[in-house]
Symmetry: C2
Subunit: 578 residues, 2 copies
């Protein structure tokens, strides 16, 4: 806990002032090369994730310019690349789908409003230093949620790969919708999609070893393999144009407006804001968690660190800028940030260069995208998100901690069966409830003396010496309102079944805190023991806990004593054991 | 945690089979005397609390017969007296007020339905062994809630004491309503009420010393003083009859039907049940908590114990019986149980005798209540509940634990300003949130060696030896998802600011549990430290924690080692300190 607070830290700081002033020519080359590679990778991703969110392809490009610039100025990570990402795009589609029809101007306007609200929330959380809220999303819940989202995204792209129309917020709705359309599958579209999927999987698994055999270093081969989607886009676009596949019913991206990102404003509709608030909050938290974990992993590799509250401010500003430049909710992406890092980016200047690259693409490249088949984009999405699906967390938590397993399973099931928002809410709620349940039933052990030593161990696990007049009880949890009654119960039942008992000694070495409820419970225990002719003692109370207890009536009126060590307590109360 | 489960324990047990079989003539006298005194005390209380709940006076008597019998058969406390109590009656009035008008048959029917639902919930919680849920009501929240409820009850009785009409769910509504009626205050009613209040306060503070001076033992004086309300009722009823105060506008109880409690059924209306579910749950939990804490306190005085899950079953059955015999929600009352105990009750047979006493009263005594002024009953309520109001918890928690203080204050404020239900919900929600917040920011201390010993202490509190290559960090909290990122942050920042660091040793003596999220965090920390050329070590890991860690990849692939003691770790990694 901080006791003093530096008020200047409440204002957003400007990391650019640190790295910008010290900018050297040597880092220019690294930043430039990284920016080029990330730009090439980001173009198909931006288009695809816009499509996933139900938005026109160019909106993906718009969402990759201003946010990248703003993050470069405000972000505390040196290499994070901000823009549309898969899970946030899926959540965006789920949130907007309740308020507008995909493809309409209203739909885009709601997306802009969602980015605006998400930006405001992130910024507010950053200024109020509420970054810790993201900690309440446990790793297993995130894993379950990301895996289920990956499956949902893949399922949602099946319609485009099959050339049919289908819709739904969860696997059940999507499955029913797809099954009813199976008769209408478009053969050529399926061929393009399947070929692209196969090619992209080969690029991941087969191309890299091949490039290495041709003498490329592993990292360079890795980076080059990331440009696979661009090759797929170029080839399928050319084929569609040359063979006039559009005439044969293959859906294409079509006319993408050429030009700068437009200046846009969110809808000023309080009723809509109210309805978008929860989705915006969930999008913000998920985006923040994803972004921070990528940023932390990469920063640690160079012994740098990122500042979570500063990240909230930077992501908030990025989303606000997305809202004012025709974009939709964005965050730091995993794959592109790793590529940026591996390609040698040294400073956020790489982000600025990438933004310029995307800007040039949206100015000059869009006519070339006219014949791009939608199935190609769907294939790049499917291949990208299937790498998110990882069920090893189920096996891992099953073996390690059953309550975590339950939380993962519930998150997975609720996300797949109901949708992304319910999945997150169920996951967070259940993991908190399970944690509270666990701490409300603390492990308590009767301890006895290991003969010939001053050590005390659980009587159920070891052969130890105990006295019929003295009960030594160790509580392995901080005492607070939810578990203090468990201690009362345990002591009541021990006293009720041991007629000869005269002393109860609580061994407090594992108690890090005692709240006011637990203090009252201890008073009640002491009072009841006194009424029954017994005495309550404490041993090995921690310094900070003792500091607070000292000022209380409980310690002044305790029927027994406070012993520095449990051994002292036992030698005094049951000298026959020592 | 129980590892085996005795299936027969899932069925409700019958404590009456234990005490009933062993029943002896000697206990008959004690039980009989206690029953007589409790009956005399319970009659005015039952009438008053029925009035507080907005119900006809006789309903209070009905609610004190069958529930007492059922509790005698099923309850695990030997001396608990079950019936209408103040706080539950207030909550009942608040819950029913939204669905019916006091004084109507519908209102009574909703009260019966509420008792039914509350009984079902308690019974279900008992059979499912969910008694632990009550632990999530912290002592400070209960204190704040009970004090605020006492004030609300007293405020709600002012209208009867003043002889005006006023209504409201919280002090704001009640205050506004009363102020608008101040012109209509009925002088004689106010006189009766004020005189009764003054008399009852004198009985509490003045009569007891007087009786003792006349040679009564303190406990007998205490018990006799509890019959004060009966004297007040007798005197004011006689005066009202003799002086015909009814004609002068004093409101009286009027005709109370003579006879056995009627057989009634709850309303079978699913819509109503849905709306009553939350209030029924809150009433159940509050009633259970009040009942169990009284029962535990009294049982401990005789080295007996009560079984919380059995109490749920018994209170559930009591409430169900109240629903089928024209009553309303009941629970174990504090004052009457203490009187029962002090008057010498030995077994639940005292409860059976009390039930018979109340039954006789409802058969023969009700005509005598015709001229009883309502203001007398209001006065007995006000005096009874003002003893519930106790703000010492505010001072106590302010000094002891600021987060508990915040929870009390919020509960008090929400109960007074909004109502009983919102007060409880705010209190429980806030105390859980504050607990989670606290555990999400664990105390972490860099530790150093106390020269000449093998002990390690916080470097900020003590003069200790440290090495620039080794960081020893003690975490004073179990590691779980909400605080594992705090550990990551701390280690990241320590590593970033110490260029010479080569080893991080986590001193784990206060870590009682590591969940799957925290395990992943430790893996991430280890990976990042390894990437930066450092090693992570653990020391003093507890047995149960080590048991689980042993099977994980984390321990097998840990960059450093696991040391039994922190001293071993330091002598090995920084031999210059030893």
């Amino acid at each position: 806990m901080q006791t003093t607070r530096n008020w200047s830290r409440l204002l957003p700081s400007l990391p650019i002032l640190q790295w910008g002033r010290a900018y050297k020519r040597e880092t220019l080359l690294g930043d430039g090369v990284a920016a080029l590679i990330v730009t090439i990778m980001l173009i198909p991703q931006s288009l695809a994730y816009a499509m996933l969110a139900g938005l026109p392809a160019e909106v993906g490009l718009y969402a990759s310019v201003a946010p990248l610039l703003l993050y470069s100025v405000l972000g505390s990570s040196r290499v994070l690349a901000v823009g549309p990402v898969a899970v946030v795009s899926l959540m965006t589609a789920a949130a907007i789908g309740q308020h507008a029809v995909p493809g309409t101007a209203q739909y885009w306007a709601v997306a802009i409003t969602l980015a605006f609200l998400s930006g405001v929330l992130l910024l507010a959380m950053g200024l109020l230093r509420l970054g810790f809220l993201a900690n309440f999303l446990s790793h297993p819940v995130i894993s379950g949620f990301i895996s289920a989202s990956g499956m949902l995204i893949a399922a949602s792209q099946l319609k485009t790969l099959l050339g049919v129309r289908a819709d739904g917020q969860n696997v059940v709705e999507l499955g029913v919708s797809l099954l009813s359309q199976l008769g209408q599958v478009h053969g050529l579209t399926l061929l393009i999609g399947a070929a692209t999927v196969a090619f992209l999987f080969w690029v991941r698994s087969g191309l890299k070893p091949l490039l290495q055999r041709f003498g490329l270093r592993p990292r360079a081969a890795d980076v080059l393999a990331k440009t696979g989607p661009v090759a797929a886009i170029a080839v399928t676009t050319l084929l569609t144009w040359a063979l006039d596949w559009q005439a044969r019913g293959v859906k294409i991206v079509g006319a993408v407006p050429q030009g700068l990102p437009p200046f846009t404003l969110p809808l000023w509709d309080l009723g809509l804001w109210q309805q978008l608030l929860l989705p915006a909050l969930l999008i913000s938290v998920v985006g923040f968690v994803e972004s921070v974990s990528v940023g932390q992993t990469l920063a640690a590799k160079r012994r740098q660190r990122i500042e979570p509250d500063q990240e909230l401010v930077a992501l908030g500003a990025s989303n606000l800028s997305a809202a004012f430049s025709g974009g939709f909710p964005v965050t730091g992406g995993f794959a592109r940030s790793v590529v940026n890092f591996d390609a040698g980016a040294q400073t956020p200047a790489a982000g600025v260069f990438t933004a310029v690259g995307i800007l040039l693409a949206s100015l000059f490249l869009t006519p070339a995208l006219f014949y791009l088949p939608q199935a190609t984009l769907a294939a790049t999405i499917v291949v990208a998100v299937l790498s998110l699906v990882d069920f090893s967390i189920l096996r891992k938590t099953w073996h390690y901690a059953r309550s975590d397993f339950v939380a993962v399973l519930a998150t997975l099931a609720a996300t797949l069966a109901v949708g992304v928002e319910m999945g997150l809410i169920v996951g967070v709620g259940l993991s908190l409830a399970l944690y509270l349940y666990r701490t409300s039933r603390p492990h308590m052990a009767e301890v006895g003396l290991v003969a010939g030593t001053e050590h005390f161990r659980n009587v159920l696990r070891h052969t130890v010496l105990v006295s019929p007049q003295v009960l030594g009880l160790r509580v392995d949890e901080s005492l607070y309102f939810a578990n203090s009654r468990a201690l009362e119960d345990r002591i009541n039942s021990e006293v009720a079944k041991r007629p000869g008992l005269a002393h109860v000694v609580l061994l407090c070495s594992a108690i890090n805190d005692i709240d006011a409820s637990a203090l009252e419970s201890l008073e009640a225990i002491d009072q009841r023991l006194r009424d029954a002719g017994l005495r309550l003692h404490l041993s090995e109370v921690k310094g900070p806990v003792m500091d607070r207890l000292k000022a209380t009536e409980f310690i002044r009126e305790l029927s027994g004593r406070v012993f520095l060590t449990h051994y002292q307590a036992i030698t005094e109360l049951a000298p026959e054991l020592a």
